[in-house]
């Protein structure tokens, strides 16, 4: 991966993780804050409801107590109490008592009122005629009501087939006698109204009362069918509340909807007060907050990407610049220098590089100068040898030409001795001509075009032998040319090499019968070594060092003609190929010339 994307990616991933963590924390703390705010709101609602409920109950208690002390009611109650049952006085007192209590019920403070005889527990007068004559002697409101004002908690009235709540107070004659118990049925709609009165702050808030037997006591907002004391509720809040605890909880409500609920156990009323609200509404702000956090995070991420790219580029641009500069320098633009203005590590790297480049350029310049000098010297040398061989030849031509004219046209005026001297003159000019030719050929080797390709040495050796046919006329020579590994060489030069080696071999085997020449190859260290071997006069290994020198000869000119350039040319050809050449031999035991060439493979 390249540097710029790597730095960018690292930065962006880091930024994304950071933003995610911060966003998560912000979202969660926002949610927690909302929850606690919601819970305290719900709790204050619960406290308010509880207060209102208690106040209402107290009001009902006082209502019944006040009614029980009403002089009219009390007077007729005493009359009824004292009159014998079934007497006209009793009937009269009963009528008058009803007149007193009827206005107080059905539209008054109570739904119905009744007077119970404290001796039998029988209803002696009631705003509801069907109640009269019934026995209430075991009812808590009767038993408690004899002692003082009392409100009985909610219960299911079997007689009425509906929930009921009754308050009661003793009816006492002015002399202190207990003449009856006044009991009033409380209108539960009032309580319902108190409980279901909404704060108006929220949409989904709801308050409900639950009895100890897990029954709804007030009608919940989101249930249409009447459920009061008919349907059970078994939420976790209710369970905890009925254990006598108070608190708050996030849970599913009676509809199965996630809600936040505050539960309060009302020991006096033996009821559970639940104030709840849907989580959806409570946490609604967190959703928009979450969206805001997400949007801000996205923006921040985009900003992070931009910053990362800019940062990465600001880091990598100088590096890329360095790289490009080094590459440019490497491609040969030695004059190129890196900008080194920055004061950071890259700047010092650039300065370091420039210093190296300076010294390298300096070396390069001196190297180039040296190469140019050498080239010039070489050119001079070549021009020198070229003109030497030409200019040496000119006087030679004259000597030879005029000697020939003398011999051809003035032979008559010359004696035998003079003609012999002239022949010697011509012989020597011929030799000098050969020397010059060889010298020229040798110097030409350095200038010749050099083109390597795959060649078959055996074929070139055969061609060389054909070229030398003139030298083996009337001679018995056994020449063996093996097949050899192909080589990478200049065919013209390699043929010339074989011409020279074979010419040598033919020359120095002249006095052998039969003369044997073997051209072949062997393998040394896994590489082919080519050789030309003969059974000629050989040479003394003591002089092997002189063998390949120009104009170096190991034999007398009278015995073996030659200029001493042939082997020098052989050596030069092998060296131009990057190979190695050497000779082995002994006097009268023949000679072997071996050489190596670069291998075909790997080039």
């Amino acid at each position: 991966m390249k540097l710029t994307p790597r730095i960018t990616l690292t930065f962006v991933v880091y930024a994304a993780a950071l933003l995610a963590a911060v966003g998560f924390l912000a979202y969660n703390s926002g949610r927690a804050a909302l929850r606690s705010a919601t819970i305290s709101e719900l709790q204050s609602t619960a406290i308010e409801k509880q207060g209102a409920l208690e106040a209402w109950v107290e009001e009902k208690r006082q209502d019944i107590a006040r009614l029980a002390q009403d002089p009219g009611t009390l007077t007729h109650a005493v009359e009824l109490y004292d009159a014998p049952s079934g007497s006209p006085e009793a009937a009269n007192a009963h009528r008058l008592l009803l007149e007193e209590i009827l206005p107080r019920s059905a539209g008054g403070e109570f739904m119905s009122l009744m007077v119970i005889d404290p001796r039998s527990g029988q209803v002696v007068a009631s705003s509801d005629p069907t109640e009269e004559g019934k026995l209430k002697e075991d009812r808590p409101y009767f038993l408690q009501g004899k002692a003082g004002p009392y409100v009985e908690n909610l219960y299911y009235s079997v007689a009425l087939q509906e929930p009921a709540m009754t308050s009661a107070a003793p009816l006492r004659a002015p002399d202190g006698r207990l003449v009856g118990v006044l009991a009033g049925r409380i209108d539960l709609d009032e309580m319902n109204a108190i409980i279901s009165r909404r704060s108006g702050l929220h949409e989904s808030d709801d308050t409900l009362l639950v009895s100890t037997s897990n029954l709804f006591v007030t009608q919940p907002r989101f249930v249409i069918d009447p459920v009061v004391l008919q349907r059970g509720i078994h939420t976790q809040a209710v369970e905890r509340c009925l254990e006598g605890r108070s608190g708050a909880i996030d849970q599913l409500d009676y509809r199965g909807v996630p809600a936040i609920a505050v539960y309060t156990w009302l020991p006096e009323r033996e009821l559970c007060l639940i104030v709840k609200m849907d989580q959806a509404e409570a946490y609604a702000p967190t959703r928009s907050f979450g969206r805001a956090v997400a949007a801000i995070s996205a923006l921040a991420l985009v900003a992070a990407v931009v910053i990362a790219v800019v940062l990465a580029r600001s880091l990598t641009l100088p590096i890329l610049g360095l790289q490009a500069g080094v590459a440019r320098f490497g491609q040969g633009d030695l004059g190129f220098r890196l900008p080194d203005s920055s004061r950071d590590e890259l700047g010092s790297l650039a300065r370091e590089f420039n210093a190296r480049a300076d010294s390298l350029a300096q070396k390069d310049t001196s190297l180039r100068a040296r190469a140019a000098e050498l080239e010039a010297a070489n050119r001079e040398l070549e021009a020198f040898s070229y003109s030497v061989s030409h200019d040496l030849r000119a006087p030679l031509r004259a000597v030879d030409g005029f000697s020939r004219i003398l011999l051809e046209e003035h032979a008559a005026s010359l004696d035998g001795e003079a003609r012999r001297y002239l022949d010697l003159v011509r012989d020597n000019t011929q030799k000098m001509g050969h020397l010059i030719d060889d010298l020229l050929a040798f110097s030409r080797l350095g200038r010749q075009e050099f083109g390597r390709r795959t060649v078959q040495p055996a074929n070139l050796a055969r061609q060389a032998l054909d070229q030398l046919n003139g030298e083996r006329v009337a001679r018995e020579v056994e020449i063996e040319i093996d097949e050899m590994p192909e080589a990478l060489a200049d065919p013209v030069l390699l043929r010339q090499l074989y011409v020279n080696l074979l010419s040598n071999a033919l020359k120095f085997t002249r006095k052998r019968d039969p003369a044997r020449i073997h051209v072949g190859s062997r393998t040394e260290d896994g590489k082919p070594v080519y050789f030309v071997q003969d059974n000629g006069v050989g040479f003394d290994m003591a002089y092997v060092g002189k063998l390949f020198g120009v104009f170096q000869r190991l034999h007398r000119a009278e015995d073996y003609e030659g200029t001493g350039v042939g082997l020098a040319i052989v050596q030069r050809i092998v060296h131009r190929h990057g190979g190695r050449v050497w000779a082995e031999g002994a006097v009268d035991r023949g000679a072997t010339f071996s050489f190596t060439l670069p291998e075909r493979s790997g080039t």
Binding site: Y386, S389, H390, R393, A394, P395, R397, A398, D400, G401, F402, I405, D437, L440, R444, Q448
Partner: protein
Amino acid sequence: MSVEMPAEILLVEDNPNDIELAMHALTKHKLANRIEVVRDGAEALDYIFARGAYSHRDINQIPRVVLLDLKLPKVDGLEVLRQIKADPRMRKIPVVALTSSREERDVTESYNLGINSYILKPVDFQQFTEAVRTIGLFWLLLNQPPKV
């Protein structure tokens, strides 16, 4: 037949020995009186294009053959050859190079410029006639009118 016979062979050669040897060979074969010798490349061009010292010469009298040494003072042989072959009137003159060696670059360059033949120095008449034969002038040069 005028005494002012135009030269049929132009020999361009600076070395006096070579001139003498060439003249000897040609004289022996009775061509000496038809030879004009110039000593350097500039003079050769002056002669051929009838200018300078040779401005009096009739430019239409074109030599039958030019024997050209390649190594010449002032203007070298290859340049003389180039100018001859570049001129539409002179292009047809056969040019035979006289060289002292078979130097590869000279040979290649000469052939590129349109040399007709080579003769190795010293001028061997045998070689000369061979060269002349190859360029089709043999009959013309050897079957000349009788001398005056």
